[in-house]
Amino acid sequence: MKKPELLVTPTSVSHIHDLANAGADAVMIGEQRYGLRLAGEFSRADVAEAVKAAHQYGMKVYVAMNAIFHNDKVDELGDYIRFLAEVGADAIVFGDPAVLMTVREVAPHMKLHWNTETTATNWYTCNYWGRKGAKRAVLARELNMEAILEIKKHAEVEIEVQVHGMTCMYQSKRSLIGNYFEYQGKVMEIERKKYEKGMFLYDKERDNKYPIFEDENGTHIMSPNDICIIDELSEMVDAGIDSFKIDGVLHEQSYITEVTKLYRRAVDLCAENRAQYEKEKDELLAKIEAIQPKHRPLDTGFFFKETVY
């Protein structure tokens, strides 16, 4: 049975070696100048090194260029894309059509993965971006299992699904943390403080904690839980989903590596020895629960949830 690719976001070049040993098939890296909400910040030199390291293990490297671009960066996209082609990146992850247009101009053979995070919600639109040049569509996290399977059934492009980690709920161009500090009159400290790590919003009514951070792309607010469906992979493996992503953003390196190992085991068993997977899956889940940070409860995201409108 075809095994989905296990795609992980590393925090650094050295982490790629750990992830290779843990069983990752591919990594997604990048820098915040072009990419959104990455687990680590990779300069051009880092990207070049990361590609070398990963390819040594037969792992693929995808580079994030999925920011919402304003005019100021449009003219430099070509240079970065050319660089990525030269160092041998395996694909570019994009959301903004400006990236697609530039790839056509400067590196027409570069593979493209379409990922806007929230708007890949039906099979027709996944195929639309396929006709425009994308090889893969990364599905919105707000879909349930049934919708994912139906998209896969009709898809003419590869389908990537996030199976683990936090997801983005909100991105604003506004400097929301900096503005709040300024409103409080803490003017002098803002530049330093607004980029600090570990901030969260507390929602009293729901007793939820939403991680929040600011970077070059604005303010990002993240889901209160980490998705974990290590014990619910069967249907997607059977359907032939092409890639399972573990998103490590805002997590520790060692945690991401451990989770990768456990998913490696889960995917292998699920594809090759279903009976053993059924036997072991609760244990795999328990192993993740055991290393889960206290502030990050696990849930199953939208896979089994009803959403109305």
Binding site: T118, T121, N122, H154
Partner: protein, 422 residues
């Protein structure tokens, strides 16, 4: 660099005038609001049908109502656009073709769309519909605009995050109609990239289920080890992502000179009083500027007029650059309007000076009221005796939609409105 688009102004008889007048585009949540918006001077309105639009809670138009709305608008030479700007899920695909065909047959001029599924389906089954790209695509650079032009779209609505300078660059580089927001509520996130409602209330924000979680209060903490450190003092208002409403009245001249093709007012959920007030003010600003741009001054009374229907503070947002803390609301997320809608004029008898008016809020003899409308200059007067339809004198106009009569010294016209200060 010269703007690529049509010439914006010309010298006529020694005086510069604007020859490229932008469209004033107004929201219309139902048929009554559509008629009011058009009557008060909108060049075009956008409405929502029963499906595929982003205001699941609005009362929205049936196909029959859309037909009637189009017929009404056509009498004024105004256009009707239908929003179909959800990000569709698989389950929304069945029925889409029939819906778009019905819109085309109803004579709708265009649709406002985000999802390529709907763009391509419209092209295939309803080719007479113009297709405008919704702000839900958060379009913020010229190259992405170029992409959508090459896809054959007639018009794009830019991301609300674009500045005047960025709009200018886009206009210079790509020859496509640009629609930009001038007034109304704002998403504080990049549109289409917010799923707060999905997480907090299991309602899909990109299919019209937005519950405005960005206007709720949150407490900001920092995690140090296992310790949660509050980043606010007792006296601080809580954290919020709440953006003040947009108000670009002072920027209209600049927007006209940029050659922006359509100036859009947000608010399909707003009342007819709101629609009438905002449309009539922007109508006056656009007309006055276009007639004599070099001697134009913004009148304080226009700015005050807009305030009469505002229930939130306003700000210019991204047009002038990055919004600061002053563009946000902390603590309270709305306020009472200074004025309320008191009645809609149905008829006026010039001889007896009696108005026939439909009551929309409580008023009584002795109240000072203000009349406004496209045919008249605003004026105030004190209400004297009030009668019901049958000539019985009333101590007050108490009942919603009740028909009442009283004396109004100056001539008023059907669809004129009466408001009073709170």
């Amino acid at each position: 660099m010269l703007l690529k688009n049509d010439k914006i102004s010309e010298i006529i008889d020694g005086k510069r005038v604007i020859v490229k007048k932008p469209e004033l585009l107004a929201p219309a949540g139902n048929l009554e609001k559509l008629k009011i918006a058009v009557h008060y001077g909108a060049d075009a309105v956008f409405i929502g049908g029963q499906e595929y639009s982003l205001r699941a809670n609005a009362d929205n138009f049936t196909i029959e109502e859309i037909k009637e709305g189009v017929q009404f608008a056509n009498q004024y030479g105004a256009k009707v656009y239908v929003t179909a700007n959800i990000y569709a899920h698989n389950e929304n695909i069945p029925g889409l073709e029939e819906y778009l065909q019905a819109l085309e047959q109803a004579g709708v001029h265009g649709i406002i769309v985000a999802d390529p599924l709907i763009i391509e389906t419209a092209r295939r089954v309803a080719p007479k519909l113009e297709v405008h790209l919704s702000t839900q695509q958060s379009l913020a650079n010229w190259k992405a605009v170029q992409f959508w032009k090459e896809e054959g779209l007639e018009r794009v609505v830019l991301a609300r995050e674009t500045s005047a300078q960025e709009i200018r660059e886009i206009k210079e580089k790509v020859d496509i109609e640009i629609e930009a927001f001038i007034h109304g509520a704002m998403c504080s996130a990049y549109s289409g990239r917010c799923v707060l409602s999905n997480h907090m209330t299991a309602r899909d924000s990109n299919r019209g289920g937005c519950c405005q979680s960005c206007r709720w209060d949150y407490d900001l903490y920092k995690l140090e080890g296992d310790k949660e450190i509050p980043l606010f003092d007792e006296n601080d208002a809580p954290f919020a992502m709440s953006a003040k409403d947009l108000n670009l009245i002072r920027a209209i001249p600049a927007m006209i000179e940029l050659g922006i093709d359509s100036l859009k007012i947000e608010g399909r959920m707003k009342s007819i009083h709101y629609v009438a007030t905002v449309v009539s003010v922007y109508r006056k600003v656009i007309d006055a500027y276009c007639a004599d741009p070099d001697h134009f001054v913004i009148r304080e009374e226009w700015i005050k007029e807009l305030d009469k229907c505002a229930n939130r503070d306003t700000a210019p947002s991204f047009f002038a650059g990055m919004p600061g803390y002053n563009d946000h609301m902390y603590g309270s997320h709305s306020r009472k309007t200074t004025h309320e809608f008191a009645g809609l004029v149905l008829d006026y008898d010039k001889e007896t000076q009696m108005v026939t008016l439909q009551q929309r809020n409580f008023f009584k003899p002795g109240d000072e009221v203000e009349f406004f409308g496209p045919e008249i200059e605003n004026f105030t007067q004190v209400v004297d005796k009030i009668w019901d339809e049958n000539g019985n004198e009333l101590d007050a106009a108490r009942h919603p939609l009740q028909i009442v009569k009283f004396k109004v010294e100056r001539e008023v016209f059907p669809y004129n409105m009466m408001r009073k200060e709170n």
